[in-house]
Symmetry: C2
Subunit: 158 residues, 2 copies
């Protein structure tokens, strides 16, 4: 398995979308390890990670403690600024309406998500929730993100 | 002026929507006093205020620091529970999409807002953002809320 992992690591181009999404996936794994629905997010500004978050709604008894909200808040704290126009958010699962609403307020430059959320993804309501200047990409390491979520929910049932 | 204030106070039925919205308005005034767009919110559960919040986006450099988010987080913290089905949120201004998304996740019993937000209110996108079980009422002390906002923005221009 180690050789496969090394192989995967070598295949990922540093500073690519896949590279940064992999960092978000590590955070999602951290969430799973703590019994939380595994979603992870990072905010990248000029190729540096300036905010991290993973879902902590159970531990904090707080529906607002989504990975994206934590990462956005951390990034704003780091920059000392509310607006994140030069930043990209990587999140393993499609943001919900709440998180997309927060992304709107930050005027984020770009959002990249992994797996689509067929039930609660913001695109099911309207793509216009995002700021018109915010670029959107999806499907990055989607299979890895989906597998993590499926494994988590299967684990709950056994 | 004092007699008018006393008069207003006496006219408000304790534990009515107007009574609780007045408490949210006091919080909005607190926001204004701190140079923040004046919006205030409280969460009421069985006639007790269990969460309070006012807009602090400027001070915290954080777009997620809306009055509603703070009040919901405080209420969940108080109850030690994510879900607020037995609670009512009173907020002086119509919630934005982010806050409505958070309200959805809490499965809040009821939302009462004051003034409509013609630009950023969630109803401009879709009323279906709220949980289907959440009751919605509006227009409570709307004029007082609107006046507070207008005075604030006029003050910024002078």
């Amino acid at each position: 398995m180690v050789s496969e992992q090394v192989g995967t690591f070598l295949m990922i181009n540093p500073l690519s979308d896949e590279f940064f999404m992999q960092q978000a996936l590590y955070l999602a794994e951290q969430a799973a390890a703590e019994g939380e629905i595994p979603v992870g997010a990072i905010v990248v500004c000029r190729q540096r990670i300036i905010g991290k978050g993973y879902n902590q709604t159970q531990r904090l008894h707080d529906v607002t403690a989504h990975a994206e909200m934590m990462a956005l808040t951390a990034a704003s704290e780091y920059l000392g600024a509310k607006y994140l126009a030069d930043c990209t958010l990587y999140v393993t699962l499609e943001p919900c309406v709440m998180c997309a609403g927060a992304i709107f307020w930050t005027q984020l430059g770009r959002v990249v998500f992994g797996a689509a959320d067929e039930k609660r993804g913001f695109t099911k309501i309207s793509k216009a929730i995002l700021h018109p200047k915010t670029l959107l990409a999806d499907g990055i390491l989607a299979e890895e993100s989906r597998r993590l979520l499926l494994d988590f929910f299967r684990g709950l049932r056994t």
